[in-house]
């Protein structure tokens, strides 16, 4: 019953909710980002980060540092925290936490398949995979020649199996098909996650619906913009849009026929939340669209913490950490390549 979660939530979820709120207090603040943006070298960044919670993870790294090492160690911290929560969770929270990682699994699968297509070594690809999306038998993905084999050999035992029903074809894997496969899988994953949250009901359903709807809409816009000028037909494009969210179904109809960015903008400006995003862009500019979407996402994720006794805080925390790692990667890259003037182009402050 919505409104009475407070009476029974803490039986199973109270301890972990308090822990995740404690983790949230360790996110980097605007002051930390300002310090980091002033750094001259990667060693300065390491020194500043050792004063934050990333200290124990970075202190044993020898100089000279690489940006990939910094990002890897920070991701390791996120993985440790996630595993700490997952091992102590009971149903349905444990299923919820596992759902959060399926997106990374999809990304890892696509990474390995693409890398194999371009004749890269499997070990090298495995090192680049996101640790949250690892599963056993991921290395056997390199053996598959087409999607049917991919499914039969590897993916039928993973949690991604039910998402494959829409994209099993006998076509060989090439770049275009892999991108379509990625988006089809992600669409099925988002819809499945949405249904799961609706089944949980209460505050979790309400808050997660909003966050997932924003994710679905953002992906729809990105798919549209990325497929302008490619050979993806309109029907194929429409098949990649999720069947929930603010844009469903009329916005999807309009987006499917867009041929350039201005038409996309015209379609999106009918929806007040997205109108504010698109109004920040002047005509013809799409680089800062990504940053605008990230800012809007961070704002909504922070709002999820305003309410107690629901599972949305776990999802929000994981996403905010990922945003922080993206920020750190951008700052490290700018510092390493001596482009400090561009640092503020892509850093999204969380508080």
């Amino acid at each position: 019953m919505y409104g009475f979660e407070a009476m029974t939530f803490n039986i199973h979820g109270g301890y972990l909710e308090a822990i995740v709120r404690g983790y949230r207090s360790g996110l980097l603040t605007a002051a930390d980002y300002n310090n980091l943006c002033q750094c001259e070298t990667l060693d300065d960044i390491k020194m500043h980060l050792s004063a934050t919670e990333y200290g124990p993870y970075l202190q044993n790294e020898p100089s000279p540092l690489h940006t990939t090492t910094i990002v890897e160690k920070c991701t390791l911290k996120l993985v440790d925290e996630y595993k700490h929560m997952l091992t102590q969770a009971t149903e349905p929270l444990s299923t919820f936490l596992e759902y959060i990682t399926y997106g990374h699994m999809i990304d890892n699968v696509v990474l390995i398949v693409t890398g194999t297509l371009h004749e890269r070594d499997v070990q090298e690809l495995l090192e680049k995979c996101h640790p949250l999306g690892m599963f056993d038998s991921i290395a056997t993905l390199a053996v598959a020649q087409n999607m049917r084999e991919l499914y039969r050999l590897v993916l039928v035992d993973t949690p991604l199996a039910p998402y494959f029903s829409e994209c099993i074809t006998s076509e060989d894997l090439d770049d275009m098909n892999i991108e379509i496969m990625r988006n089809t899988l992600y669409k099925a994953y988002l819809e499945d996650f949405y249904r799961f949250c609706q089944k949980l009901g209460g505050a979790t359903a309400e808050i997660m619906s909003d966050l997932l709807a924003f994710e679905a809409d953002r992906r729809a816009v990105n798919i549209t913009i990325n497929s302008i000028g490619t050979e993806l037909t309109r029907d194929d494009r429409r098949k990649l849009y999720s069947n929930f969210g603010l844009l469903y179904p009329y916005g999807h109809e309009e987006l499917a026929v867009c041929e350039d960015i201005d038409q996309v903008r015209a379609a999106m400006e009918k929806y007040p939340p997205y109108q504010t995003i698109f109004s920040k862009l002047s005509y013809g500019e799409s680089q800062i669209l990504d940053k605008a979407f990230y800012e809007e996402e961070v704002k909504r994720l922070c709002l999820a913490f305003e309410q107690q006794f629901h599972y949305g805080v776990f999802f929000a925390y994981m996403r905010l950490r990922e945003q922080e790692i993206r920020n750190l990667m951008w700052i490290s890259e700018c510092v390493a390549q001596n482009q400090k003037s561009r640092v503020h182009d892509s850093v999204v402050f969380i508080f």
Partner: protein, 176 residues
Amino acid sequence: MVTSSSSWSQALVQISPYTFSAVGIAISIGVSVLGTAWGIYITGSSLIGAAIKAPRITSKNLISVIFCEAVAIYGVIVAIILQTKLESVPSSRMHDPESMRAGYAIFASGIIVGFANLVCGLCVGIIGSSCALSDAQNSSLFVKILVIEIFGSALGLFGVIVGIIMSAQATWPTKA
């Protein structure tokens, strides 16, 4: 003329007033303790989780647990008071209006105290949980949220006051 619908009232009136009194005393202590336990686990689980990151909150936030515990003490006190009001009445006078009144008074007193303490314990527990989580992030919030808890714990006190007033009505008939 006794109609079929009045057979229920006949049945209720035949129940001994001591049954009602006993059930009242049981509800007074049983349901109060239910409210206390509910409140303590709601507060306690959040408090323990939050104290990992912010150990300084543990000693201050035990006040929330103490407020919940006070609710159980109210239940025990009223149960003890009520059981002192029980007196023996000869069986010829057991269904006199006066003894029925005494039995009902003890029953009502027990229900009042029990359910008031149930919701009070729940209320204080939920507020205590939010208090622990907010205190972990910003220590200036603690005292302000404590004021809300004090208002919440007043609910149990109201129940106890009315319960004790009701139990004063429980005068059994003396031997004629």
